[in-house]
């Protein structure tokens, strides 16, 4: 019997105006999304490769002398991801430029300017279409599931059969989910068909798997709204009332609540300011320089002539390394505070299922805040690798002092780091590693669990509500 209910629901939905309109709207949006993404992605990849190659050729020039490789500040750009079509998040505005050399990694900054005169919308990606349009469509399909059938008189006919009420509920749920999955899958297919032929977009096996997981998560998100619609429709007798309530709930949770939570968070929380950071940097640097004797005799002074008796190279190196260590530590702390604040703001907005869904998509797609933070870690790691390389190559040179310190004069006039040329191919170059499917899932597992919990809660509530529904 349940199979017949499912079949009837699907056919009834497919033949209605609602389905035609939703399919039309979602197809248009997915197609536009795919096309816009393809164009932007091409441009971004071109830009990215040009800038990265500029950086590498500049590095090659420096590799004629080893210590210059150590001091050259490389500019690393964030690579555009193909999965940004699914969940670009706010990537346009997130930091995309990292400066690193052997000794320090600067804080990430955002290069490239957005038009400040335009309203700031998130870009149209799959996440937006599914979280806004398809969730709305879910409500439109289910708002009159029970009360509409009650008004038409067919609900009591259905329940006159020997069918338990929960099977009716399950049947309607399954029927609506399949009806919703159709425009979603067709839309995604259209999007993928548009972007795959483009040469710049390369989707490998891991990413196909991620797309599959995203489809499942999207279905989980949509089922929240389907169950919500079923619940509200089983509470009222008139479909108009049910629609009014559902619209209100939808507007609140998807549109108003995220903004409201962000505002409340902004108003109540303090941001770590730039002046504070500069002040702390200056303080700690002054503290070290004032106590320079701690690192050895004459650590605080230096003359370019190595044989000058005033010079104490090991002590100077220790001093400079202490300065750069404390700088790095302060920068890391500042960065952590930034990250904490951004994540806390997003977590606070997770009262809305749309934000939970967006967070999951970003975690699985490997985009968004987590990715930028991960990239920062990778860049720091690369700095350390570069330092190891410099140290090991420097050891081969008998003429250098083997003192790796951040002072340029020391390296240049004292030969603290070797002046020999180095083979450019052996210099480690930065390669961005995208997250594997396993890592993405680990990040997203809590959110998926949360979505499932909401689903179960709504199902239970809809179940109890329908059990007590007066079907006459």
């Amino acid at each position: 019997m349940i199979r017949q209910i499912i079949y009837k629901e699907i056919i009834e939905n497919l033949l209605g105006l609602r389905f035609a309109l939703s399919v039309f709207l979602t197809l248009c949006l997915f197609a536009v999304c795919g096309y816009v993404f393809m164009i932007n992605h091409q441009e971004q990849m071109r830009d990215y490769w040009r800038k990265t190659n500029e950086n590498l050729s500049a590095l090659r020039e420096q590799s004629s002398v080893l210590y210059q490789v150590a001091f050259y500040k490389q500019g690393i750009y964030r690579k555009p991801q193909p999965l940004a079509i699914c969940a670009e998040g706010e990537e346009k505005a997130l930091p995309n430029f990292y400066e690193v050399n052997t000794f320090t990694t600067e804080l990430p900054i955002t290069k490239g300017q957005a038009n400040f005169a335009l309203p700031q919308f998130s870009s149209v990606d799959w996440g937006l279409i599914i979280s806004l349009i398809l969730s709305f469509a879910a409500l439109v399909f289910t708002y009159d599931s029970f009360c509409g059938e009650k008004e038409a008189g067919t609900l009591r006919l259905m329940l006159a059969n020997t069918i338990p009420r929960y099977e009716v509920l399950l049947g309607k749920y399954a029927g609506t989910m399949i009806t919703l999955a159709i425009p979603m899958m067709i839309g995604m297919l259209v999007s993928l068909i548009i972007i795959i032929p483009s040469k710049d977009v390369a989707i490998d096996a891991g990413e196909w798997l991620k797309i599959l997981v995203l489809i499942l998560v999207s279905l989980l998100y949509l089922s929240i709204f389907v169950l919500l619609g079923l619940f509200v429709s089983s509470r009222t007798g008139h479909s108009a009332n049910s629609m009014a309530i559902l619209l209100l709930v939808w507007v609140m949770s998807v549109i108003l609540l995220p903004s409201l939570c962000r505002i409340v968070f902004d108003v109540t929380c303090e941001e770590p300011t730039e002046q504070e950071l500069q002040r702390r940097l200056k303080e700690s640097r002054n503290e070290i320089w004032d106590n320079s004797a701690r690192y050895g005799k004459n650590a605080g002074s230096m003359s370019n002539n190595l044989s000058d008796p005033m010079n104490n190279p090991p002590a100077r190196a220790r001093l400079q390394n202490a300065v750069v260590d404390v700088t790095n530590q302060l920068l890391q702390e500042h960065h952590n505070k930034w990250l904490e604040q951004a994540l806390a703001r997003r977590n606070f907005a997770c009262l809305s299922p749309a934000v939970i869904y967006q967070r999951t998509c970003e975690a699985i797609g490997g985009t968004g805040i987590n990715r930028c933070a991960d990239l920062y870690k990778q860049v720091k790691r690369y700095g350390i690798d570069l330092k190891e390389f410099i140290r090991s190559t420097d050891l081969e040179d008998p003429q250098s002092l083997h003192l790796i310190g951040p002072e340029h004069n020391m390296a240049k006039s004292w030969r603290a780091i070797s002046h020999n040329p180095v083979d450019f191919d052996s210099v480690p170059k930065f390669q961005e590693r995208t997250m594997t499917i396993g890592q993405s899932l680990k990040l997203a597992i809590w959110d998926v669990g949360l979505l499932m919990l909401i689903n179960l809660g709504l199902f239970a509530v809809a179940f109890v509500s329908f059990l007590r529904y007066d079907v006459r």
Binding site: L17, R18, L21, L25, L29, V32, V36, I39, E90, A93, L94, P95, T110, K111, G112, Q113, N115, F116, A117, L118, P119, Q120, F121, S123, V124, I133, F136, V140, G148, S239, A240, N241, M243, A244, I245, L247, L248, V251, I255, L256, P258, S259, L260, R262, I263, V264, D266, V267, E271, P272, T273, E274, W338, L339, Q341, A342, R345, I369, C372, A373
Partner: protein, 520 residues
């Protein structure tokens, strides 16, 4: 007869569940939003007052004309609680200096790059979303619902023209929806006026009145869309689905799409090209300055001594200086300041052209979004509140005029930048005397002569102390921000006209549709 129908519809609407839900939602949201918005406005007003006072005090402490580098602040608009526009995104201040022409810029966000998107919300969000949905919900079953119930044919069995029925329903819808709109406005005003520092002037009240009319016009447009679908569909559920579909298109698809399309069709130049242009201009400027410096290098070679002190706005002034240095710097200023002024205009030209790219994009996005009444309404509200782009451009134009006035003022007071009062407090006479005594001290042959010369110098200094008095700013062209009321009203007219035209077109369409409607 129209009034009878209208009254009946109105009373029926008031007693429906959906209207109650919508009205209560409006009231609750206003009560929740307005205090937050008002508190935010109060904070911004406090900051503004403090900044203005600080600036004025510092300006009154300036000692030489070179250091007149104050900042002009834009007062926060009280109606930004109703429509935020670009208030949060654009910086409300501009610095006045000789080397740079002020231009619009973005607010500094304290630097956390992981928090890029500002959460912008205001009272008009309630209108755009809640009240427009309420309008659709009230309107979707006005005709088709009555047909399903059977009362439409009863009503039309009377000797009543169809257009009278329609007009009655339209009037009823208008009155019904004006209730939540009015309540929202009134509660919003009450909340914001309960804060003591908020003062609304006469022109503010006229603006609020016009915003109320715009909100009503917008609500009636959405109501008429619902009515149109009701007249086209045989069943209410179809009309509702059509109404919701149109709402999604207007509220989400069109605003987003217009922005995306505008960025595609009118891309602006990359920042690198812009940086390149600015860098080459800077090089030209430094080249020209260098040639002038070479001209006066000889004069500077004779300079002996100067003692400088700190002035307001982070600048310096020369307290005591020898006559050669004084003359040299006077000549240098006379030659270089006009060049700097010329280049300031050139820099501004380049920057302005770059920003024009942004503005063209915005205008295109605005025009594309005119199809959606929600976007039109949002823009009308921003214009009426004074927080739209044109308002900011008006402010920055006034700041630029002020800068020109300040430059002319300084030019007239310092004799085309060549007077010593531009950068020093010592007069030429004092400087000559100081130089003579100092040179005497330097060239003293023995200890006795040196001591005598030093004594003479000290005595002279005691007799002529350095008078570091602040400038006399009696005829200074102080900045007064004039918010142009007429300009805002004129700018809002196209959007209001669009809403009215939409109203008329919709009325025409459903009028003909209802004329052919099968009421059985």
């Amino acid at each position: 007869m129209i009034w009878k129908i209208a009254k009946k519809e109105f009373l029926l609407n008031l007693m429906t569940f959906k209207f109650a839900v919508g009205a209560i939602a409006c009231v609750l949201l206003t009560v929740v939003f307005m205090p937050i918005l008002a508190a935010d406005y109060r904070q911004r007003l406090k900051m503004y007052n403090k900044n203005v006072v600080d600036n004025e005090t510092e300006l009154r402490n300036v000692i030489v004309y070179r250091n007149v580098k104050h900042t002009i602040y834009r007062p926060p608009v009280v109606l930004s609680a109703f429509s935020a526009g670009l208030e949060k995104q654009l910086a409300g201040s501009a610095k006045i200096e000789l080397e740079k022409v002020p231009e619009l810029s973005v607010t500094e966000r304290g630097g956390n790059p992981y928090l890029p998107i500002l959460a912008v919300f205001d009272e008009s969000l309630i209108f755009k979303i809640i009240i427009s949905i309420l309008a659709l919900l009230v309107a979707y079953d006005v005709v088709s619902g009555e047909r399903e119930q059977g009362t439409l044919r009863l009503m039309l069995s009377d000797p009543i023209a169809r257009h009278q029925v329609l007009l009655g329903k339209l009037v009823a819808g208008l009155i019904t929806l004006s209730v939540p709109v009015a309540i929202t406005f009134v509660i919003g005003l009450v909340v914001i006026l309960s804060y003591p520092m908020v003062a609304l002037s006469g022109s503010d009240w006229i603006r609020i009145g016009l915003m109320f009319i715009a909100s009503l016009a917008f609500t009636v447009v959405m109501f008429q869309f619902g009515l149109l679908f009701s007249c086209l569909a045989k069943r209410s559920s179809i009309s509702m689905v059509l109404g919701l579909f149109i709402w999604i298109v207007f509220a989400i698809v069109i605003p987003n799409a217009s922005v995306q399309l505008a960025t595609q069709f009118r891309p602006f130049e990359s920042q690198e090209t812009q940086n390149g242009r600015m860098a080459s201009l800077k090089e030209d400027l430094s080249n020209e300055l260098r040639t002038e410096m070479d001209n006066v290098k000889e004069l500077f070679s004779k300079s002996i001594i100067t003692s400088d002190k700190r002035d307001a706005f982070g600048g310096y002034y020369a307290k005591r200086r020898d006559i050669y240095w004084l003359n040299a710097e006077q000549k240098l200023n006379n030659l270089t300041i006009p060049i700097k002024l010329k280049y300031a205009d050139k820099f501004w030209d380049v920057e302005h052209r770059y920003l024009n790219g942004f503005f063209r994009q915005k205008h295109l996005a605005h025009r594309l979004a005119l199809i959606s009444p929600i976007s039109t309404y949002e823009n009308a509200m921003a214009v009426l509140a004074g927080t739209d782009l044109a308002g900011f451009q008006d402010f920055i134009n006034q700041v630029r005029e002020h800068r020109n006035e300040v430059v002319e003022y300084i030019r007239s007071k310092t004799d085309d930048f060549s007077s010593a009062s531009f950068f020093a407090i010592c007069t030429e006479k004092e400087s000559t005397e100081f130089t003579r005594l100092y040179v005497q001290k330097q060239e003293a042959k023995d200890e006795q002569a040196k001591a005598k010369a030093e004594q003479a110098l000290k005595e002279w200094e005691r007799a002529n102390p350095a008078k570091a008095a602040p400038l006399n700013l009696q005829d200074f062209p102080w900045f007064k921000y004039r918010q142009s009321f007429a300009r805002d009203i004129r700018a809002a007219v196209p959007d209001l006209a669009t809403l009215l035209v939409m109203n008329v077109i919709l009325f025409a369409i459903y009028f003909t549709a209802f004329g052919r409607y099968d009421v059985r």
